[in-house]
């Protein structure tokens, strides 16, 4: 027996409605703040557990020079589209100065030459992008810990914020400017660098010239490029949209150790 056309239309309409309702329920579920809040519980658990089992000082694996990737990808901004940055780049960053301020006893203002004279470290490490790929490069840069000691962190400082020259999304309120925040403990990790060299040459513009952050035990989006200003802060609630970074404001996890 064949199904009459009208019944077929009804069946189809019924099926479409059911699928639509299922998809709608799914969308409602994935958009629900309560659901997302519950899911965020896993992030907190992971961050705490990693803190316990990985600890503050375990080093990321370092590789031999033969492992360096010939095709290290540059993600996000690859050439900041603003006049101030372009002027600095044209002058070889001779006029660039990094300020370290916020909750510190002695704010610093450093030229690239002064930064290069600071306690440094070289490391060949794997860069893991949140998208799923990895590349290996050699990095050389000033260790962030000693710089913060020089500036003298105040007791209430809990995070270190990095403000960048690039705007990844054009917005009216400036929340499209790239920034990142990391925990003070991670800032003092021996492999946490303000990198000014990549694979033995000055850091290319595509990779964040004049300096980018290296935070080896977390994903690439934490490692801010084109860093212009560093501040010690006690809360990131008032920065950007309040989630602790450009990508965090757009749904990425603040703890990027996974």
């Amino acid at each position: 027996m064949s199904v009459p056309a009208s019944r077929r239309a009804w069946l189809r309409a019924g099926l479409t409605t059911a699928l639509g309702l299922a998809a709608g329920a799914c969308d409602k579920l994935t958009a629900s703040p309560a659901v997302n809040g519950a899911l965020d519980g896993a992030e907190t658990l992971n961050r705490r557990l990693h803190g316990l089992i990985v600890g503050p000082s375990a080093l990321a694996r370092e590789f031999p020079a033969s492992a360096i990737s010939p095709d290290f990808r540059a993600n996000g901004t690859t050439n900041p589209d603003n006049d101030d940055y372009q002027r600095l780049a044209a002058g070889g960053f001779a006029d660039w100065r990094l300020t370290i301020g916020g909750l510190v006893e002695r704010p610093l203002s450093l030229s690239l030459a002064e930064l290069r004279a600071a306690p440094a470290r070289s490391q060949i490490t794997r860069h893991d992008c949140v998208e799923g790929w990895s590349s290996i490069a050699q990095w050389r840069g000033a260790r962030l810990g000693p710089l913060l000691e020089r500036a003298g962190l105040k007791r209430e400082a809990r995070y270190i914020a990095f403000f960048c020259a690039d705007t990844l999304e054009l917005t009216l309120d400036g929340t499209g400017d790239y920034y990142e925040t990391i925990a003070v403990a991670d800032a003092f990790h021996p492999q946490t660098l303000l990198a000014y060299e990549m694979n033995g040459a000055a850091l290319p513009v595509a990779h964040g010239a004049p300096i980018r952050l290296r935070l080896e035990r977390q994903l690439g989006y934490k490692m801010a490029k084109y860093v212009m200003r560093i501040e010690a802060i006690d809360s990131f609630a008032k920065l950007g949209r309040g989630k602790g970074g450009y990508w965090e404001d757009r749904g990425y996890q603040w703890y990027a150790g996974i």
């Binding site: 998809a23 990985v54 694996r61 990895s134 035990r217």
Partner: protein, 273 residues
């Protein structure tokens, strides 16, 4: 063990699955569905696989890309090493260059952060639930007894295979326990694929790698681990498809009832012909 209950026509109602197995089975199903869909969401961010520690972008093992067709439209392209598996057909409506369609990802729209949030929450559920199943099964000696085939069972593997192909399923005493084909399917899933999912998943974490550097090394590097993660997920999907097909042909009501209430109807041995 609960006593059998005789039914009409020589059939027996036997208590087949203890409560812990039933509960962990359904929790496992829920977590695997969410992990699969959110995993495909994550994969959409970089639908390419490599071997080794790093990505060689120009030489993926396999990749889903788009190419511009002669008519100016973009078409999906699945490549496996030097081979192309084929170009996807045109679809009506709004085309979006994405590796997997919206109905196969969680959430539906492309949202890597949300996909990761779902994935990492349900990864905990999957691991804890599986750990509970394994711990209870091993501590009670139930799992080795049920899943490891005896020499006699292995000797009759040919006959069991033939019976399965003819869709003749065990009756009587033999139906009280897993048959040798079930054992040979469940054993590598429980002790191979499921732990491999967890290990390959863990080794993609840069923080975990700082403490357990041997883990990605053992798996051939982080990109190898990522490839293996997807390969073993694919095998789990294959297992699930065969599993559901077998439930359907073996008697879906009886099989489903046994995994919900624990009680399974055993048909009497066929009279000798």
């Amino acid at each position: 063990m609960r006593p059998d209950r005789p039914l009409s026509r020589g059939r027996l109602l036997v208590y087949r699955h203890p409560a812990l197995v039933r509960i962990t089975h359904w929790v496992n199903l829920a977590s695997l569905v969410v992990l699969l869909l959110s995993g495909l969401q994550i994969l959409c961010a970089h639908p390419a696989f490599y071997w080794g520690e790093t990505a060689r972008f120009a030489h993926p093992l396999a990749a889903i890309t788009t190419r511009l067709a002669d008519d100016g439209e973009t078409r999906g392209l699945v490549s496996l090493g030097p081979f192309s598996l084929g170009v996807s057909k045109d679809a009506d409506g709004q085309m979006q260059p994405r590796a997997f369609p919206a109905w196969l990802t969680l959430p539906g729209e492309l949202d890597l952060g949300a996909g990761r949030r779902w994935h990492f929450f349900f990864a905990w559920l999957f691991a804890l639930n599986g750990g509970l199943y394994l711990a209870q099964g091993l501590a009670s000696r139930r799992l080795p007894g049920e899943l490891v085939p005896t020499r006699a069972q292995l000797a009759h593997i040919g006959a069991a295979l033939l019976d399965h192909l003819r869709l003749r399923f065990p009756r009587g005493e033999a139906a009280r326990r897993y048959n040798v084909l079930q054992q040979l399917a469940y054993l590598p899933v429980v002790f191979g694929l499921a732990p491999l999912m967890v290990l390959t998943g863990l080794s993609m974490s840069p923080a975990i790698d700082a403490r357990l550097a041997w883990l990605p090394w053992l798996l051939g590097g982080r990109q190898s681990a990522r490839t293996l993660h997807f390969a073993s997920a694919s095998l789990l999907v294959l297992f699930a498809l065969v599993h559901v097909a077998m439930v359907v042909v073996a008697g879906p009501i009886n099989e489903l009832r046994s995994m919900i209430t624990g009680w399974f109807v055993v048909k009497p041995e066929e009279p000798p012909r």
